[in-house]
Amino acid sequence: MRYKKREETEEKMSVMIRFFAQFRELLGTDIITEPLSGGALADLIKEVASKNKEGYDAIFNENGAFREFVIIMKNGKRLDTAHAENARVADGDEIAVFPPVAGG
C-alpha cells in the first residue's frame, strides 16, 4: 500500500499559479496545484479560477477561451492566448496570469 502511494505522488507535479491585480483580488495568488503530468495549461487555470465566477469570467470569455488581452506567462515567457490554449504544464512550472491595466 505504502509503495503504491509513493508511486502516485511521483506522477503528480507541482505547478504554481500566480494571479495579478484584479485577478488576484478575486482568486488569490501563489496557488500551488498538483495536476497530473501532461495536463493542459488552460484546463489548470480554468479549474483554479472556477472557484469564483467573477474571477473566471474576467479571464475567460463565454466560449471558455482566454480573453484576448489577458497576459499569460509560463516561467517568465509570454504565451499568446491562442498558444496558451494548447500549452502543457510540467513539474515546477510557474504560470502568471495578468490583466494589463489601462488607466493613467
Binding site: 495579478f20 491585480a21 484584479q22 488576484r24 483580488e25 484576448e68 488581452f69 497576459i71 506567462m73 517568465g76 515567457k77 509570454r78 499568446d80 502568471a96 495578468f98 490583466p99 494589463p100 491595466v101 489601462a102 488607466g103 493613467g104
Partner: protein, 249 residues
C-alpha cells in the same frame, strides 16, 4: 552653464551625477503625453530635477473629480485647460526650465510632430489606442517610450528602447476593454515616480533600465515585482518579420 540659483537648487542631486549630469538633464527635452494622474507626478519630478524642456500634451479641462490624484492641478484650476494649469504649476516649482503646454488630442496625424526631436516620450495616457500610437512614433523615430498604467491600487511600468527591447505591442498585443477605472492618487504617484526615475536614468545614461521587464505594483500588498518580457518577432508594431516585409516592398 548654471546660475547661482540653479547650482543651489540642484546641489543635492549634483552630489550624485555632477555638473555634467545636470547639464545633460538641462539640455534634454521630454514629451509627457497626458497631464492627469500619471502625468502629474512625472511632470513634477522631471521639473524639479531640472529637465530643461518639458512638453506636456493633453486635451482635457480640469474637473473636480480629477483632484484626488492629478496633483498638478488645484481647486482654483477647475475649468482651466489641464496643460495651462500644468505649465503654471511647473513654472512655479522650477522657473529655470521651459514648459510647453499643448492643448490637443494626440492622433495618428499629429503624433509624430508633437513628439518632434524629443529625447524621450512619457506615456501618461489613460487608453491603449493612444498608447499604441505613441509606441509607433517611438519605433519610427527611435525615441525611448516610458510606459506606465494604473487601475485602483495596481500599476505597471516598462521602458521601451526601440530596436533593442520589447515594445508595448510585444508585451500587450491587445488592449484591455475601456472602462471608467477606479483609482486612488497614490497609485499613479508610485508608477509616475518609477517612470520619472527611468527617464532620469536614461538621460544620464546611468543604472539599469526597465527594458524587457514589466514592473508590477500591487499597492494592496505593498509588493513590487517584475516579470521578464521579450521582443516578439511577429509583433505587428516592431517585429523583425514586419521589417523584412517592408524592406522587400
Amino acid at each position: 552653464m548654471f546660475s547661482q540659483r540653479e547650482l543651489e537648487r540642484y546641489k543635492r542631486q549634483m552630489m550624485l551625477f555632477g555638473n555634467e549630469g545636470q547639464e545633460q538633464l538641462k539640455k534634454s527635452t521630454v514629451v509627457i503625453a497626458g497631464a492627469g494622474g500619471i502625468g502629474s507626478p512625472v511632470a513634477l519630478y522631471l521639473a524639479v530635477a531640472g529637465v530643461g524642456t518639458i512638453k506636456i500634451v493633453d486635451n482635457d479641462m480640469v474637473e473636480q473629480s480629477n483632484l484626488n490624484r492629478q496633483i498638478l492641478h488645484n481647486e482654483r484650476d477647475i475649468g482651466k485647460k489641464k496643460v495651462d494649469s500644468a505649465a503654471e504649476t511647473l513654472q512655479a516649482i522650477n522657473p529655470d526650465i521651459t514648459v510647453w503646454a499643448i492643448h490637443t488630442t494626440i492622433d495618428a496625424k499629429n503624433a509624430k510632430s508633437l513628439v518632434g526631436n524629443a529625447d524621450g516620450i512619457v506615456d501618461a495616457m489613460d487608453n491603449f489606442p493612444t498608447r499604441y500610437l505613441l509606441n509607433d512614433v517611438a519605433i519610427v523615430k527611435k525615441i525611448p517610450l516610458f510606459h506606465g498604467a494604473i487601475r485602483g491600487f495596481y500599476g505597471q511600468a516598462t521602458t521601451i528602447i526601440p530596436g533593442t527591447s520589447a515594445c508595448l505591442r510585444c508585451i500587450f498585443p491587445k488592449a484591455p476593454p475601456k472602462e471608467v477605472f477606479p483609482v486612488i492618487g497614490v497609485t499613479p504617484g508610485v508608477i509616475g515616480a518609477v517612470q520619472a526615475t527611468e527617464v532620469i536614468k536614461y538621460l544620464l545614461n546611468k543604472g539599469e533600465l526597465l527594458t524587457n521587464r514589466l514592473f508590477i505594483w500591487d499597492g494592496m500588498r505593498s509588493l513590487a515585482e517584475d516579470v521578464r518580457v521579450e521582443k516578439n518577432p511577429d509583433c505587428e508594431a516592431c517585429g523583425t518579420k514586419k521589417e523584412r516585409r517592408q524592406k522587400r516592398k
